[in-house]
């Protein structure tokens, strides 16, 4: 009963997507039930699987994680040095992000007198993330 109910929902959704597909200017049309959409999802799942597998092959020899087999599926853990590096990199990223947000708030609020564009906020977030990774790399170089 439950299975047939699920199939009914799937069919309804497919029909709905088919209907959406034919609407002019509909950006969700590509999500429709044509075979290409399902194949793309399959490849995406395979790609994510490969990335996860590659991570678990790389991580034990990366120097970023200590291996503790007694913890089972949680065997990969940061030791105190890598944790300290991670904390410093996160702190640097946070400080840069907050500083940049403060700077653009002052700039747009007192000089330009307009709303802060979303693209500028995206750049600030990107800058914070970049700072995190650069700090992480720099602190690990020893």
């Amino acid at each position: 009963m439950g299975i047939s109910f699920g199939w009914t929902i799937l069919e309804v959704n497919c029909d709905r997507n088919e209907a959406l597909l034919h609407q002019p200017g509909n950006r969700l049309g590509w999500v429709g039930s044509h075979p290409g959409a399902h194949r793309a999802e399959w490849w995406l799942a395979a790609l994510i699987g490969v990335i996860v597998l590659a991570f678990f092959l790389w991580a034990p020899s990366s120097g970023r994680y200590a291996v503790h087999p007694e913890h089972g599926v949680m065997a990969l853990r940061r030791d105190e040095r890598t944790q300290a590096i991670n904390d410093k990199a996160a702190r640097n990223g946070f400080v840069v992000t907050i500083g940049a947000i403060g700077g653009i708030t002052l700039y747009f609020g007192s000089i330009v007198l307009t709303d802060v564009p979303v693209t500028v906020l995206s750049l600030v977030l990107a800058l914070g993330i970049l700072t995190y990774f650069v700090s992480d790399f720099w602190l690990r170089r020893a």
Partner: protein, 71 residues
């Protein structure tokens, strides 16, 4: 004061590789290297774990050098 150590000398005496010592102490090999080069100051807990892994006392590995510099 600077925390000095003779970690490299002792693990070589004990015929332990950096990798083996890292496994015994539950840290990465890079952390052992950083401690040997005095670029990372371990916590008391980690220092004691390293001393236990090498079967020596803490004072045999680490000591404070007060000839100059900061800890």
């Amino acid at each position: 004061m600077i925390l000095r150590n003779r970690l490299r000398e002792i693990h070589l005496q004990k015929q332990l590789t950096q990798e083996a010592l890292a496994d015994l102490a539950g840290v990465t090999r890079q952390t052992i290297i950083a401690i040997e080069k005095e670029k990372f100051v371990p916590s008391v807990k980690l220092a004691l774990e390293i001393a236990q892994a090498l079967d020596v006392s803490l004072g045999d590995i680490f000591w404070l050098d007060d000839s100059g510099g900061k800890l």
